[in-house]
Amino acid sequence: MALIFPKQLDSIVRLAIPLIGLGVLAGIGGAFYITQPDVLEPGYQPEQPVPYSHKLHAGNLGMDCLYCHNTVDKSSFAAVPSTQTCMNCHGQVKKESESLRPIRESYQSGNPVEWVKIHKLPDYVYFNHKAHVTVGVSCVSCHGRIDQMVEVKQVANLSMSWCLECHRNPAPNVRPVELVTKLDWKPEGRDAADIGRELVAQKHINPPTNCSGCHR
């Protein structure tokens, strides 16, 4: 009886099995790689309804972060400012600017400007800005040099291990409270981490590393 399969098939199969195996492994590995917070998260830079430049406002003009994000030391949310805050200045400055049209419209109609959220945490994470900012964790520790960004993008991966890194060793990210919004701060003649260590001891900073510290 003639063979149904040609003999060469054996070698093809012998070759194909490891190849398929490798393919599967590569697939799994690839999926694993691209879902890593480090790969997936940083660099997210969506287009905003108004091309607001943090570099211009916070960098060149030197506005304090707290002028707009005024609830950051009062609430868990840093709060995107109301349209009114924009109009405090833009009622006088660049009154006719085309790119500010959505702001003017919102101010007149009372409808909110739909800003796109960049830094997202899962719903089961209860991050609290107030708790961090008031003990001397600077904005720059999580958001990077916002004052150099024309359009804001995410720099940190915001993963749990990234959070825990600092919660286990807060000293490098602690500075005097009055300097939290000074994003370019570098202490003269001293190591920032040294100052951090002193502050951690002095203020008894002891960030939680247990589940209910952040998950409720």
């Binding site: 609430s75 709060a79 349209t83 409808n111 800003w115 209860y126 609290n128 708790a131 209910s212």
Partner: protein, 969 residues
């Protein structure tokens, strides 16, 4: 070390939760022996597990990589900032909750403009910071998707403009034939508008009606004192309390201050008060009693009169219950005890008892010199409601009523059966009904106007000389109006409602602002009136009451969950187990075991109850301790026209409630009925295998043996292969439940539900043991020896015990439940994979598993009630009490922001603790020897559960003490 637990080790007093448990039936064993209740793992919709896996595999394949794009989320800030509104920081406003002719001050939390959580107002004398279950659950009604949302004309959609047109087009003239039926009107602003309405239409008339009212109480005070007054008690001062069928710890409480005072009088282990309860149904008050006498409702008068004659308050006469035997002994003992406590005792009569009983109670209080010490009387001019609705109905029947305006209350459902109110509605020219629901009354009304919730409208309340402003928290969700707004519209008043309320109280701006802030109007003070009792009139009234007959009696009491039916569509309340029967999603005919034997019925079988020619078929619930030959039924069930939640729930017993028998009827015929009904109770769930977890003693035994609570604890060698973690740094959280204070009112259950986004699951799911409540109130019966007709009842609140050596933690394969350095048993929902090992290994059975996605089909509006600070759990996740960790973290962060290292004792309140009217729950830092919780834990009454398992629970209990009268022992 293996610890053997012998379930029959118990000696002396025996504790049980249901008759099935007591007799250890095979069905009960089956329920207990299963690791998880049968069917617990099954899906709801008939799809088997295998089918589920098929579907899952297919959808996984199809899902592919299509979901790999990051979803875009938006942040929507205000266009113009709102004063004091900070995203993420809740605001609190004072308001007031009116229920019938009672009012409770509230502080309501608003998260980003949504009222989410109701707490009591410390400055309000009827609340003292606590809130009842009804008050707390009422927030759910704001978001009820089944609420009336638009104006209906003859059942068809209409609008307010059309109604206004209709109202103007009517030729009402001098108001001849115009009648306005309201609920108990305790709002002075509404009363002011009523006066103006009457000025415009002089021949119109206002009628007040509540199904649960104080008619008899006020009539009794008229008998005894010749004036309509209401007693206000100072229970803390009372050393001897006699309850004449009064459930003053739940339904008959004028406010939560009654519970607080009583609980304080029971907490001091050196001198606890003594409570005698005479009642037919086993009430929460009866559960606290040191001595409880079971009598049929009509026999209570006999007891009251005999007691008054024995004490000489009433002229000598024939003892109704006889000199000798049990009753005679009781009367003598109580009389003696009362006489020894002149000025420090109190006698209370229940609202369903006739006026004569209230008159005797009033007479006894004044004879004992209690007036001015434990009881004061304040004026109350609520009219007789049962009588006036009867008159109104007769007018309607004769065709004399052309226009009937009904302001809330659903009278077509709640009116006395023999008044014929519901059928007479059709004889009225036009019925205009302002109501929150499209209910029984709305169905027959020509115009149904949607009513605003009290959290959506301005108003006020004045009860017992305590005035408070009802402050709204949210604009009306739908096109609704309050009664005040509707009357104002009818009187062509312009301007905002708040101006009407403000004008009513004539307050200057500063006083108004402080009234809004405090929730009470300072300038109004309660005034007690002088009373002088007229013994002769009381005697005449007592003699005039017909002697009790030997037949069956049926007593009506307000439902602990739906009240008079108005909370029928409130899921939180429907799923709260009734305090005594632990029944959910139902009402039942409660009878004693002996009566059940006589009627040859078992639990769940229907009996027919006939009063005045009307019959209802009600399933039987057998409750030990209920009086013989009488039935107790809860009102407020069996609503026919109601939203989705309340549909087909329970039996309507209003058809057998006549004007003459609003409290109870002596003319009932009871027989075995047809059919059965599946009653679901939670009383057997989470069985404790007869371990001695409830501990109690008499005061005498306690004085003799101070350490009785822990005396029988097994001594164990503390040994662990892992070594013990030392919890001695910083805050170490702990909690104490005081069994002496807990009255089983369920306020904590509702508080926990609201605070922690706990879903409701429905009757069929509760039957499978899937209820989600994080705190439950176990109700134990106890008696010396075997079966007893007179068992005592103990309540034990039970939630996660936060064991230091938690058995749940060691079996979790994914470390989803772990211990925090502050001694909390943490639960990370997002890590849980749903093995349920932890629940299986928990000796207290306090872990709750999300068998289904309870939030999936939740209406959009209902989501608004959620607490934003607690995760909403999904299917397949375990959950349990967290000691309100969100509140702990919030206060810790606040302290840090303020630069404080230490938290103040009492700064953190768990939700259950904050709302507990009895102050039975104390939470705090056990590492601080001066904290309240540490001090309680040092008491000799303090005991932890299951010491032999070496769990080191952070929750402990103070053993219960009773103070029986040696003469009645």
């Amino acid at each position: 070390m293996i610890v053997q637990i012998d379930p029959v080790k118990q000696t002396g007093k025996k504790y049980w939760r249901s008759l099935e448990e007591l007799s250890n039936t095979s069905q009960f064993r089956q329920w207990v022996d299963k690791e998880f209740p049968s069917g617990a793992g099954e899906m709801l919709d008939g799809n088997s597990r295998r089918r589920f896996l098929n579907i899952m595999a297919a959808s996984m394949g199809l899902a592919g990589l299509t979901a790999c794009r990051r979803p875009v989320e938006h942040i929507l800030p205000f266009a113009k900032s709102v004063e004091e509104q900070i995203p993420g920081v809740p605001l609190h406003y004072a308001s007031v909750f009116s229920l019938g002719s009672k009012a409770q001050g509230l502080v309501v939390e608003s998260n980003d403009g949504r009222p989410t959580k109701i707490e009591g107002n410390k400055k309000h004398a009827r609340s003292l910071g606590a809130a009842s279950g009804f008050a707390q659950a009422s927030v759910l009604n704001v978001y009820d998707p089944d609420r009336s949302q638009v104006v209906l004309e003859a059942g068809k959609k209409s609008n307010w403009a059309k109604f206004a047109e209709f109202w103007k087009s009517q030729n009402l003239g001098d108001g001849e034939g115009v009648r306005v039926l309201t609920t108990a009107n305790i709002s002075p602003t509404l009363a002011g508008l009523e006066e103006q309405f009457l000025a415009k239409y002089p021949k119109a008339r206002f009628v007040e009606y509540e199904a649960i009212n104080e008619d008899e109480l006020l009539a009794g005070s008229e008998l005894a004192f010749k004036q309509r007054v209401r007693p206000v008690y100072d229970m803390e001062k009372a050393r001897v309390v006699v309850s004449l069928d009064s459930d003053f710890l739940l339904h008959d409480a004028a406010g939560l201050d009654t519970i607080r005072g009583f609980a304080r009088g029971r907490k001091n282990e050196h001198e606890i008060s003594r409570l005698y309860a005479v009642e037919s149904n086993y009430s929460t008050t009866g559960a606290q009693a040191d001595h409880r006498l079971r009598l049929k409702p009509s026999e209570v008068l006999g007891f009251a009169a005999d007691l008054a004659r024995e004490m000489g308050a009433l002229p000598q006469g024939l003892k109704i219950l006889g000199q000798d035997g049990k009753f005679g002994k009781w009367v003598k003992a109580v009389a003696k005890d009362l006489n020894e406590h002149k000025g420090t005792s109190v006698v209370l009569a229940g609202s369903r008892q006739p006026a004569a009983v209230h008159a005797v109670a009033a007479l006894l209080n004044s004879a004992l010199g209690n007036v001015g010490t434990t009881v004061e009387y304040v004026k109350n001019d609520r009219p007789a409601m049962g009588e006036s609705i009867g008159k109104l109905s007769a007018e309607m029947g004769s065709g004399a009523v052309k226009t009937l305006l009904v302001l809330g209350g659903n009278p077509a459902y709640t009116a006395p059966a023999d008044s014929g109110f519901a059928s007479n509605l059709s004889k009225v020219g036009s019925v205009i009904y302002l109501g929150a629901e499209a209910d029984e009354t709305a169905k027959t009304a020509k115009w149904h106007l949607p009513q605003s919730h009290f959290l959506e409208s301005w108003g006020d309340a004045l009860v017992d000389g305590i005035a408070s402003v009802q402050q709204p928290l949210i604009e009306p969700m739908f096109e609704t109006m309050s009664a005040i707004e509707l009357l104002a519209m009818m009187l062509d008043k312009q301007g905002k409602t708040v101006e009407l309320v403000k004008a009513q109280w004539k307050l200057d701006d500063k006083a108004w602002r402080s009234a809004l802030h405090d929730g009470v109007i300072e300038s109004v003070k309660p005034e007690s009136v002088k009373v002088a009792a007229d013994a002769k009139a009381v005697d005449a009234a007592v003699v005039a009451v017909k002697k009790p007959m030997s037949g069956f009696e049926v007593g009506f009491y307000p439902s602990a969950t739906t009240y008079d039916g108005r909370f029928g569509n409130n899921g939180w309340l429907q799923e709260t187990p009734e305090p005594m029967t632990k029944l959910v999603w139902d009402n039942a005919a409660i009878i004693s075991p002996k009566t059940a034997e006589g009627l040859k019925v078992v639990q769940g079988e229907n009996i027919s109850i006939t009063v005045a020619g009307k019959t209802v078929n009600v399933p039987v619930m057998i409750l030990p301790g209920h009086a013989e030959n009488c039935v107790s039924v809860a009102l407020g069930y069996g609503r026919k026209v109601v939203g989705r939640v309340g549909k087909d729930v329970g039996v309507d017993v209003y058809p057998i409630r006549t004007a003459a028998g609003m409290g109870f009827s002596t003319q009932a015929t009871v027989a075995k009925g047809t059919g059965t009904h599946n009653l679901v109770t939670t009383q057997e769930h989470f069985y404790q295998e007869a371990r001695p977890i409830v501990r109690e003693a008499t005061l005498a035994k306690y004085h003799h043996e101070k350490n009785f609570a822990t005396a029988e604890d097994e001594h164990i060698d503390e040994y662990s292969i892992y070594g013990y973690h030392k919890y001695d740094q910083g805050n170490q959280w702990g909690l104490v439940f005081d069994l002496n204070a807990c009255v089983g009112c369920n306020a904590c259950v509702t508080a926990c539900q609201a605070e922690n986004n706990i879903p409701i699951v429905g009757k069929d799911q509760v039957e499978k043991g899937r209820e989600m409540h994080w705190i439950r109130l176990d109700r134990y019966f106890s008696a010396e020896g075997e079966h007893s007709d007179d068992p005592q009842v103990v309540y034990q609140p039970m939630g996660c015990q936060h064991c230091e050596t938690a058995p749940c933690e060691s079996v979790c394969p994914v470390a989803a439940t772990t211990h925090s350095p502050e001694g909390l048993n943490d639960m990370a929902y997002n890590r849980c994979v749903g093995t349920r090992y932890c629940a299986n290994n928990c000796p207290f059975k306090v872990r709750r598993f999300n068998y289904l996605n309870w939030h999936k089909d939740m209406e959009e509006s209902m989501k608004m009630v959620s607490n934003p600070n607690v995760s909403v759990r999904m299917r397949g996740v375990m959950e349990k009490c967290t000691y309100c960790v969100q509140r702990i973290q919030e206060k810790k962060i606040q302290a840090k922001v303020e630069g404080r290292r230490e938290l103040r004792d009492g700064e953190i309140l768990t939700a259950c603790q904050q709302t507990c009217p009895a102050e039975a729950i104390t939470f705090g830092n056990i590492n601080d020897p001066n904290s309240a919780v540490s001090k309680l834990k040092k008491k000799d009454l303090n005991y932890g559960l299951l010491k032999e398992l070496n769990l080191k629970p952070r929750t402990s209990y103070l053993a219960k003490l009773r103070n029986p009268n040696p003469e009645l022992a």
